[in-house]
Amino acid sequence: MRHEKLSLGILALASISPGFSLAYHFRGVSYGLAEKVGLYIPPEIISFAVMFAFSVYLYNAKGISLPYIIIVLSILYVLPYLGGVLLDNVPFVTLTAIPLSVSVVLVPYAHSLQFRMKNLGRGYPREEIEALMGRELNTIFLSMLPGAMLLVYLLYSTSLGKRPLGLFPTYSVVLFALLIGIVMSTLEKKETNVSKTVLVLRTYMIAGDSFRVKRGSIWEKGFELLLEGGSPVKRTVLLSFALENVPEYVVVRSPWDTKFLTKKEESVENGVRYVVFSTSRAPSSQGISSAPP
C-alpha cells in the first residue's frame, strides 16, 4: 500500500513537466469547456490530468514499470520543443522540468537499489535491509544538496529560468563539479603493496558436515582439493589459504559432489590480495550459492 502510494506520488510529480509542456495543445479543450459548461479550467491542469491519467493507466493496466513510464513522460515533455514550439512560450519551463529531472534519475536508482537488496540473499535480517534502503536514499539526497542549492540560486537569479544566464557560468558549474570528482577519484591512493595472496574458494555443494581438506591432483593450470569425512549435507563451503601463484581453476571434490571453481573477483585489503574463486559471483549466503556467507 505504501509502495503504491509512493508510486502514484512519483507519477504525479513526473506528470507535471509534460503537463506544462503540452498545455498549449489543451487550450482548445479548456475554452470549449468554458463555453459549454461555463467552468474555466486552465489548460495546464487539463494537460496535467491527462498526463497523470495516462501514466497511471500505463502503470496499473499495462503493468509498465516506473522507469519506462518516466521515459515516456520525458519524451512527451521534449516533443513540443522538437516540433518547433518556442520554450519562451511555455511558462515556468525550467521550474516544471525539475520534478521530471529528479524522478528521471531517482526512480531507476531506487529500482536498482530494490533489485540489489533483493539480491543480497536470504539470511540477512530484514530490518537491516529495510534500514539500508533508507540510508542509501538519504545519502543520495545529501549528495543532491549542493546541486539543489546551486539550482535554487540560479533559479532565483534568473527569475525562475526566464532570464537565463549566459552559457558559460552554467556549464562551468556542472563541469567544475564533475572535474572535482574525477580529480579526487584519481587522487585516491589505490593499495598496490601486496604482502601476500589469499585464495578464497566458495561454493555450495554436498560435502561432509565436518570435512577435512586434503590435496588432490595437481594439473598445469589448476589443482584439486578433496573434502573428506563427515556426513553428507548440502552446504556452503568456504576455504582459504595463502599461496603465491594463483591457478586458473580449482576443483573441489567431496565423495558426493564435485565443483569446478574459477576466478570471480579480486580485491586488495590491508596489504592482502584476496582472489575469490567461486561457481557463481558474490558472497554470503548459506542457502544461496551466489551469496559473502
Binding site: 525550467t94 539500508l132 545519502t139 543520495i140 543532491m144 526566464k162 579526487m184 569425512g229 556426513s231 585489503e269
Partner: protein
Amino acid sequence: MNWLRWFILFTFLPLILSVMTGAVSLSYLALLPSSVLAFALLFESPSGFSVERKVEKTTLKLGEETEVKVRLTVEHGTGIVLVGDVVSPALEIVDGSNRHVFFKLPEKRLEVEYSYRIRAVKRGTHMISPVEVEGRHFFELEEPRYALLSEKAEITVSPRIVNIGRFVPDRKGKPGFPQISRAKVGTPSTNFREIREYRPGDPMRTINWKATARLGVPLVNEYEREGTLTFMFYLDSSDSMAVGGFKESALEVAVSFMLPLISYLLKKGYRVGVYALGHGIMITPISGSDSFSAFTKFLLSLGMVPTEESLSMAVERSRRVLNGQVVPVVITNLTHSNVGLVELGLKKLLAITGNVPVLVDVDIYDELGAGKLVSLMKRSLREDLGFPSVVVTKNVRKGVLKFLEVIS
C-alpha cells in the same frame, strides 16, 4: 538498460537539449544529477576492515549452546557493508544471525557489534569459517572490496554419554556373561594394564624400577593376559546409514549407541575394537578405561562414505585381530539391499572366530514416521538371518541394555 548508464545519460541530456533548443535554462536540470555523480566519485567503496570474533565455548556436548560475538570496524568509504561467516550445518543458529548488512556513512567510522547463538546438533569437529566482509560502493561506481578476516573457529561436539553401568542389573552367577572379563592365567600380552605392588612370584623383568625408586616400594607393571574377551564392532558407515537425515541419521544413532557401550565394556575390563565399514579403518582391540578417548576421537570424526565395502571384505581385512576370544558385533541398517552381504559377513565371522556374531540393527523408521511396516520388514529379515540380534532405536539406553542382555 544499466541504471548507471541511464543516470549518466540523463545527467548530460539536459545539457545537450539546451544546446539543441537554445534554452540555456534547461541546462540547470543537469545540476542535481551531476551533483550526485560528483559526490559518488568523491567516495570510494567501504574499506579498511577489521574484525574481532570471540566464541564463548569451543567444546560442547550435543544440544549445548554457545555464543559467538563479532566486532566489525570499517574505516573508509561509503556504501553497503556485508559481513558474515559460514557455520557448519551441524551447528544450528538458534538466536540472532551470523550475517549482517550495514551502511557506512561518508567520513564516519563504522563500528558495530553483533552476536549469535549456535546449538550443537551433531557430533564431530565443526568449523565456523573466517569472517567475510564485503564493501559495496553506494553508487556501484567501483568494484566491491572483499576481505576474509579473523581465524576459523573449531568447535568440538561430543554426544552425551549415559553411564550405562547404573542401569545394568546384577548378573552375577549368570552363565555366559563373564563377570571378570580378563583371563587370570595365560601369556601376558603387550597391552599395559596397571602398576601394582610386587607380589612374591612376579618375574623380575616386570618390576617398574622408576616407579619403585620414586615411591620406595617394589612395583610391577601388569599386562593384560591373552585370552581376554574381545568385542569387535563392525560399524557400517555406508550410505545405508544415511537414513534419517544428516543430524539424526542411523549412523548418529549407532554412534550414540556405541559410545556408552564401549565405555561400559572398557570399564569392565574387556578388550574392544572397532572397524568402520566403508572407510576401511579400525581401532585394533584395546582395553582399559584410558583407551576410551581413542574411541571417542575415532567415532566423533567418523562420517559416511558412498563407497560400499562388504562385511566379508572388512572381516578379511581385520582377520588378524580376530584371534582369541572374540565376540563380533555388526552394526548396520538392515535392508533388502544389504541383507545378502550382511549374511555372508556374519557367516564368515562365525567361521573365523567360532563365536556367534551379534547383529545390531539400527531401526529409526518408526521414529521418522515411516510407519511400522518397514520395521516389520526389518524384523522379518533379522529372523531369516537367524543370528542373535538387537534393535537399536533413538532410545539408545534401551538398546545398550538389550545388547548386554543378548550377549549374556
